[in-house]
């Protein structure tokens, strides 16, 4: 099959997963292709290069079929061809392309591939990837824009599986390409939590309808998070995961980076905006607090983390993970936690922040950065519930949510990963929260002015808390 370049450019740049919408494209070609199914209708996996005016380029994954004319990607509207990819995973195929090799691998111990798959459906909410759910039991995620190197999600799911972390859906298989154009993970197959309720939606619902029950759930989420970090920091023999002491400058570099960002954001704050009143003109004060907060000695150890952790990355599963929650080391104490009464949290999406480079997403960081992300999402969900609510959000809900989550977390996490002592933990956590809140402030000012009060309140709260703590 020959490919018309203009048609290819036209096609690729129209897709939802295409990332560089504003960059002029000068060239596009199929770099390599591997036929997965030879029988009619044939199916071919293709690496398509898109080159820009500047000489830079991206590589995308497409799935061609010779049977249909005009459409370059068979998975655009129809999920069924993806079944061929799953078959290849089950068979553990190794296929040779022109410039490299395509390898399909099933995960060890996985039983999810033992029977044939039936119904397939596309997940509609995806932006940068394409996901397909089969029989409501497994989900295939195809990475569209490919980045060189091992995908952090594959890396973390394998590690968590091998080290018996139960609160994430097990990995079933993956496929990757290695060769001239690049070496990259192309896709992965994971068990699907059919009865999962999105953590964010559950929070919105229960804040008003059952606030106490949700606080119980958050304590359990704290435990799960702590267990996740303990596991991620548990293997000194694996260099990709071994906990490390941060470099001497790391806290200084973090402080300097956040400080510059604060200065920049405050410089661009619109004047006379009532919603900004609690923080307006307090740039120097905020920066001063930041400096005081970072006069900590040790900042704990750095480990691989989730990297983009918030309520939207969690599911509440009524049936819970496949193993009984009672096997978790801390479950014995949680008499009041819902884990005991069936159901548990499941953590999803270990890809890290999509805007960062793959190398950055694989970097080891303090686990408290994940914690800060989750705490900030409590602030968001409280405001969102308030805006949308039929009922009332309890006044002190956010404070109590934070406290319960942290109780669960500190109970479960390996203390060797954190700075020594509660005060030092609080200070470092405040630094990461400030970093997030300042980022949010810029984001909301640019994109969602109605939400600006959330980071404003967050910064204000951190200032008060810091003043009390110091």
């Amino acid at each position: 099959m020959t490919v018309d370049q203009n048609a290819l450019i036209e096609y690729v740049t129209r897709q939802r997963w295409y990332g560089a919408k504003s960059r002029p494209v000068t060239h596009s070609e199929v770099l390599d292709r591997v036929t997965i199914r030879h029988a009619d209708p044939t199916l071919t996996l293709a690496l398509v290069e898109v080159r820009y005016e500047t000489g830079a380029h991206d590589i995308y994954q497409l799935v061609f079929s010779d049977g249909t004319a005009g459409a370059f990607d068979e998975l655009a509207d129809d999920a069924s061809p993806a079944r061929e990819l799953v078959s290849a995973l089950r068979a553990g195929l190794t296929l040779q392309g022109k410039l490299g090799v395509l390898e399909f691998r099933p995960a060890e111990d996985s039983t999810a591939l033992s029977r044939d798959l039936g119904a397939a459906r596309l997940v509609s909410s995806e932006q940068s990837n394409t996901s397909i759910v089969f029989d409501e039991t497994v989900i295939l995620k195809l990475f569209r824009r490919l980045e060189a190197g091992i995908n952090p999600e594959l890396e973390l799911l394998r590690f968590l599986g091998e080290h018996d972390f139960r609160n994430t859906p097990p990995l079933v298989g993956w496929y990757s390409y290695s060769g001239g154009p690049l070496t990259a993970t192309l896709g992965l197959l994971q068990e699907y939590v059919a009865d999962g309720i999105d953590g964010w939606k559950l929070a919105l619902d229960e804040i008003t309808s059952a606030p106490e029950r949700f606080l119980d759930r958050l304590e359990r989420l704290g435990e799960v998070t702590g267990e996740m970090h303990s596991v991620l920091g548990s293997d000194p023999a694996d260099s990709a995961f071994a906990p490390e002491e941060p470099s001497v400058e790391s806290l200084g570099l973090l402080t300097a980076t956040v400080d510059e960002e604060i200065a920049r954001v405050f410089l661009s704050l619109p004047e006379d905006d009532e919603r900004l009143a609690p923080i307006a003109g307090r740039s120097e004060e905020v920066r001063e607090q930041l400096r005081l907060l970072t006069y900590a000695g040790s900042s704990g150890r750095v480990i691989r983390t989730h990297g983009d952790y918030h309520l939207g990355q969690t599911l509440w599963s009524r049936s819970g993970p496949e193993a009984p929650a009672a096997t978790a080391p801390t479950a014995g104490r949680g008499a009041g936690t819902p884990a005991a009464s069936g159901g548990d949290w499941v953590v999803l999406d270990f890809e890290g922040e999509p805007a960062r480079t793959l190398a950055e997403r694989r970097r080891k960081r303090s686990p408290l950065r994940d914690v800060a992300g989750m705490l900030r999402s409590f602030a968001y969900v409280a405001t969102a519930a308030h805006l949308a609510a039929d009922g009332d959000v309890p006044e002190d809900w956010e404070e109590r949510a934070r406290a319960r989550f942290l109780d669960g977390y500190l109970e479960a996490v390996d203390p060797a990963l954190l700075p020594p002592g509660e005060a030092a933990i609080e200070r470092l956590l405040a630094v990461f929260e400030l970093e997030k809140a300042v980022y949010e402030l810029r984001y909301e000012l640019d994109n969602r002015p109605d939400w600006v009060q959330i980071p404003v309140a967050g910064i204000d709260r951190l200032m008060q808390q810091a003043a009390e703590a110091l």
Partner: protein, 553 residues
């Protein structure tokens, strides 16, 4: 696979900020008192934060270190003090992951006299490597070639007892020149390049490049044969290794140096040596003329080439490319203590040259960053480190990096006495006063300012890619010029005077546009038909982006 970490970009070096590192002095990763690659890996987060794009390493090869490693005794091995080839590979990989490229010094002109090639050449006058060096029965050939290390070398020829002949050396007598007339030498050097390129290195700074060949009746510099060979090197690199860089070190006048760009088919970059002393001269004289003049004398270069610009580096502040009068002036102003002189230059770091002046440091960086070319920073100068003129040769500007106020300046956990050189301890520039840790914490520090300034420059490709148009004013204390690239127009105005100055600039060509100051994003009054009046603080500067009247703010 280095190319995997970067977007394909053959002209990356035109927008890059370079950072020169003395490996021995940067950070000690194995507690033996000497910096190494493990230590360098530990400090990559710092360099990434600083925002530099390319790290330039001083020589890292096996060497007896009689000339700071520029005397190489094995081109295929890392000096054991610095680690192993495997450590080097890991360092390059880690730098690439953080978006930084790596180039290294390579000396093609000569080797150490300890190199097995030289030992073989002197021992076996009929052997395979007999003609790998330049031998002669007399010491009278090539009399027009100047002696570069005037302070130590009486002649470019030294007698070898074993072979009973003289050998040629443009630098120290323990650094015999390779004979590039030998095809085997030419091939051997290409093999060296391939070895390191295969390890992922992004290019080389080619040391002492004008001296590869010798010919009777010439001064032995910039010979046509040298250019022919460099073109061959470039073709080899282009054929197999995309996006790599050859940076020529040729301490010459711009007219001669441009030959090293060829027609865009020789070196990608070359240092612009003469502009450097003139920046210091302009500052001391409070007169922009020396900078305007040298830029006027600088010929245009091919589009795919770039100048390398610097304020200070690991060598002495060289005064070869100035007149005798200018040299006397520079010595008088910047090297009052004779110990500060070395060969034809001044061996001092940036901060002490400027008497520790913060405004002066910012002003010189602003001028450097505004000129057409890619700036090269020297390790330690970003925190305003000092020097030690009582150390021999150029060691005074190669002391350990000041990481913190802790023991050994945070540079090493070895015993104080074990350090290759002791960090500075004087009250003004000592490591208690000047160090990375303290400056990171201080928003107003030079380090923090420079980090912001690097980020600003990188936001505007115009500084790397744009045209340069001088804008001389009646007030000669002002150095002003305009850089333009596509829609981006930047006006740079620098006050060289110790006093506040007013200047009227002829900006009629830009009438209707609004200058927006780039550090603070402040809009200034629109440009009209009349001369544009600006007032500048002592040693102050403005960089403006000129925007269309309707898109200000």
């Amino acid at each position: 696979m280095s190319e995997q970490w970067f977007e394909r970009d053959p002209l990356w070096f035109k927008r890059a900020v370079f950072y020169e590192i003395h490996i021995r002095g940067f950070f000690d990763g194995n507690d033996d008192g000497s910096g190494d690659f493990r230590g360098l890996i530990d400090k990559l987060d710092y360099l990434e934060w600083l925002g530099v794009d390319c790290l330039w390493l001083l020589p890292m090869y096996e060497s007896p270190l009689r000339d700071g490693g520029y005397d190489i005794s094995n081109f295929f091995a890392i000096h054991p003090d610095y680690g192993t080839v495997e450590d080097f590979r890991e360092f390059v990989e880690q730098a690439h992951q953080r978006g930084m490229r790596v180039i290294a010094d390579l000396v093609m002109n000569h080797t150490s006299s300890d190199h097995p090639w030289f030992q073989e050449s002197r021992a076996e006058p009929d052997g395979e490597r007999a003609d790998w060096y330049v031998w002669s029965d007399t010491d009278e050939r090539y009399p027009d070639a100047r002696i570069i290390f005037l302070d130590t070398e009486p002649s470019n020829w030294t007698f070898d007892q074993l072979r009973s002949q003289y050998y040629w050396h443009r630098f120290f007598n323990h650094q015999p020149d390779l004979n590039f007339d030998s095809p085997e030498v030419q091939e051997a050097m290409l093999e060296v390049l391939r070895f390191w390129l295969d390890l992922g290195i992004d290019g080389f700074r080619l040391d002492a490049v004008p001296y590869l060949f010798e010919r009777d009746g010439t001064n032995g510099e910039n010979l046509p044969e040298t250019h022919t060979y460099l073109k061959r090197v470039r073709a080899e690199v282009d054929a197999r290794y995309p996006d790599r860089l050859l940076l020529a070190e040729a301490n010459q006048w711009p007219d001669d140096v441009v030959q090293y760009f060829g027609a865009g088919d020789e070196c990608h970059m070359a240092f612009h040596f003469p502009v450097m002393p003139r920046m210091f001269m302009a500052l001391r004289r409070e007169d922009a003329a020396p900078i305007y003049e040298i830029l006027e004398r600088t010929p245009a270069i091919p589009d795919n080439c770039q100048w390398g610009l610097f304020l200070r580096n690991h060598d002495e502040l060289t005064l070869e490319m100035v007149t005798d009068d200018e040299r006397d002036y520079m010595y008088e102003e910047y090297a009052k203590d004779p110990r500060m002189k070395l060969n034809l230059g001044i061996r001092r770091r940036l901060a002490p040259l400027l008497d520790g002046g913060r405004d002066e440091a910012e002003l010189l960086h602003a001028i450097l960053f505004s000129l057409p070319g890619s700036p090269v920073l020297y390790y330690g100068d970003e925190i305003g480190m000092g020097d030690n003129v009582y150390l021999g040769d150029r060691d005074g500007v190669r002391t350990p990096m000041h990481w913190s106020g802790d023991r050994n300046a945070g540079f090493s956990r070895a015993d104080w006495a074990q350090l290759y050189l002791q960090p500075l301890m004087d009250p003004v520039y000592g490591f208690q006063a000047v160090n990375v840790e303290a400056q990171l914490r201080t928003p107003t520090s030079l380090l923090r300012w420079l980090q912001r300034f690097i980020a600003l420059r990188k936001e505007h490709p115009v500084f790397g890619l744009g045209s340069y148009e001088p804008l001389p004013a009646e007030n000669t204390r002002i150095f002003a010029h305009i850089r333009t690239w596509e829609e981006d127009i930047v006006l740079c105005v620098h006050n060289l005077s110790r006093a506040a100055q007013a200047v009227q600039l002829d900006l009629a060509a830009y009438a209707g546009m609004v200058p927006v100051e780039m550090l603070g994003q402040t809009a200034f009054p629109p440009i009209g038909e009349l001369p544009y009046l600006l007032t500048l603080a002592p040693r102050g500067f403005f960089w403006f982006q000129l925007r269309q009247g309707d898109q200000q703010g």
